[in-house]
């Protein structure tokens, strides 16, 4: 295992310490591993809280700031945060108008956020709404299972709902908007290599030099199939087709995220975006807002994921609104 770390047990806290040193505009409580805006929103505004296992940076800690999140509960690497962390983050985001929890659909995240919301409500009477992101089309959608994983749509949702909260919308509106975004985003990823969890010390799965995993999860969960390494054109097809098969993206503008999983260089991500864009355009999708880069990663996994969000004028307006976070910034 080759990593820029001190010891596997200290990765999260050491990294959060560096994050705090690099960004005075966010504050990190190293005890509870909660990250929040140094200058909180004004009273009467809706707060946004997210969180999950660490190792997906910039998600979520990198999205704390103007126009996005108010507080984040950072779990251990690839392990959801605990209810008391969620409660602490919620307290940091409670400005008297309620708090939206943005939760990726993993059993652990769901249950810990649920308990965190119960604690926040019981102990400080905070009104909490929850939106669950379950956008990974690699997993079959079923109400009899844990359902789909939450991946790239989370980034877009945090931006868009964050803009709505920043302009003063109330909890019901922000939550309704967030649910609309969650319902209209779809993702699909591919891994060229496995990530290595520091505490495990070796790759989560073995992937031969001439194979790739289509439909990978951001914790290295297996995907739909393991296939021979293919060209970018073919990989683009394997990402685009299941996304388009799952939802009609024509007749509306789309926000498209071509996301790097951590170890794939930008030159490759732009190349993949070019191939994906060609296929999407050919299928009649209007590429209104492209985003290319590492936005929701899986530690040191090589590969990428595609997220397409069916948008509308309102969503685009909120997308374009100023955002100033360490991980996403424009207009401010």
């Amino acid at each position: 295992m080759k990593k820029l770390i001190n010891s596997p047990d200290d990765v999260l806290v050491d990294s959060l310490r560096g994050y705090a040193a690099a960004h005075p505009e966010v504050t990190v409580d190293l005890g509870s591993r909660v990250v929040f805006r140094t200058v909180p929103k004004a009273p009467g505004m809706v707060g946004l809280v997210s969180g999950g296992g660490s190792g997906h940076e910039p998600l979520h800690t990198g999205y704390v700031g103007l126009g996005m999140l108010d507080a984040v509960a950072a779990g251990a690497v690839f392990t959801s945060p605990t209810p008391d962390q969620v409660q602490a983050a919620t307290a940091r985001a409670d400005f008297g108008a309620g708090v939206l929890h943005i939760v990726k659909n993993y059993t652990g995240d769901i249950m810990n956020f649920e308990m965190g919301a119960e604690l926040a409500s019981a102990e400080s009477g905070t009104q909490v709404e929850t939106v669950v992101v379950a956008d990974d089309v690699a997993v079959e959608d079923s109400s009899f299972t844990a359902g789909r994983r939450g991946v790239g749509t989370t980034v877009l949702l945090e931006k868009i709902a964050g803009a709505a909260a920043e302009e003063g919308q109330d909890l019901a509106s922000v939550a309704a908007l967030a649910r609309r975004v969650a319902a209209q985003g779809r993702s699909m990823g591919v891994a060229l290599t496995s990530s290595t969890v520091p505490a495990a010390g070796r790759p989560t799965f073995e992937l031969p030099d001439d194979e790739m995993e289509i439909g990978i999860g951001i914790h290295g969960e297996p995907g739909r199939s393991r296939v021979p390494l293919a060209s970018a054109v073919e990989i683009a097809r394997m990402l685009v087709e299941p996304v388009l098969a799952d939802l009609d993206f024509t007749g509306a503008p789309a926000v498209v995220l071509l996301n790097g999983l951590g170890a794939s260089p930008l030159i490759e991500l732009y190349l993949m975006y070019g191939e994906v864009a060609k296929l999407l355009e050919a299928a009649g999708v209007q590429l209104a807002r492209p985003l290319v880069g590492n936005y929701i990663t899986a530690l040191d996994m090589a590969g990428c994921s595609l997220t397409v969000l069916r948008a509308d004028d309102e969503i685009l307006r909120l997308w374009d609104a100023p955002v100033a976070t360490p991980g996403l910034r424009w207009g401010a």
Partner: protein
């Protein structure tokens, strides 16, 4: 052999479970690598280590305090799916037993039942979903059944352990419908569920604790 389970035995149960979790840490993580995300061993070991550290500092004075502190500690140190589930199990055990210093087999069986209900409420698992439920539910039923037919606590624990092991083994051929393993579809077949495996350890710890005298522990 004993017919009520006293606070010392309940506490010893938790210490023994911590030992088994530590010993089986890499085994559990390996099982979780196969069908999950390779952290169940680390999660449980971290949680139970925190539990015994807290009990070392200040032993509990009653059953409810013992199990509520255990549950709270697990909830706040484990994370993941198993943190809330094991945490809820112990919290409900504490609530059900109340501020007592010993419990009859029937009372303890009822407490286990309450714990199981908490797990179901939290995780919505059903029989055959390939989760810890599949070891926990038969173990609880076996303990209750034995207690209802006036078996000793020792015999009830022994029956519960056997049922948990059978439940764990029965998860091997299943497709998972809950938790991370559910993403795998058919590929989960052939692997035991990590949480069912750790639940069998929980009842192994109970069995071993109640089968020994306080002096032997």
């Amino acid at each position: 052999m004993t017919d009520t389970i006293d606070l010392a035995a309940l506490t010893a149960w938790l210490y023994r479970f911590q030992q088994l979790a530590a010993e089986n840490r890499s085994h559990l993580t390996e099982l979780d690598s196969a069908i999950g995300d390779a952290d169940h061993g680390a999660n449980l070991d971290r949680g139970m280590a925190a539990v015994v550290a807290a009990l070392d500092e200040a032993p509990a004075a009653a059953a409810d305090e013992l199990f509520k502190r255990t549950g709270m500690t697990l909830v706040s140190t484990v994370g993941g799916a198993s943190g809330p589930l094991y945490g809820t199990l112990f919290l409900r055990l504490g609530t059900s037993l109340g501020a007592v210093e010993s419990a009859s087999p029937a009372a303890f069986g009822a407490a286990l039942r309450a714990g199981l209900e908490g797990v179901v409420q939290r995780g919505k698992a059903e029989a055959g979903d390939k989760t810890m439920y599949d070891a926990l539910a038969p173990a609880v039923a076996a303990f209750e059944g034995a207690a209802a037919s006036d078996a000793s606590a020792t015999d009830a624990a022994h029956a519960a352990f056997a049922a948990a092991v059978a439940g764990r083994d029965a998860t091997v051929p299943l497709v998972a419908r809950k938790g991370r393993a559910s993403y795998l579809g058919e590929r989960a077949v052939g692997h035991p569920d990590p949480g069912a495996t750790s639940t069998a350890l929980l009842f192994q710890a109970l069995d071993e604790t109640l089968a020994t005298t306080p002096a032997e522990r």
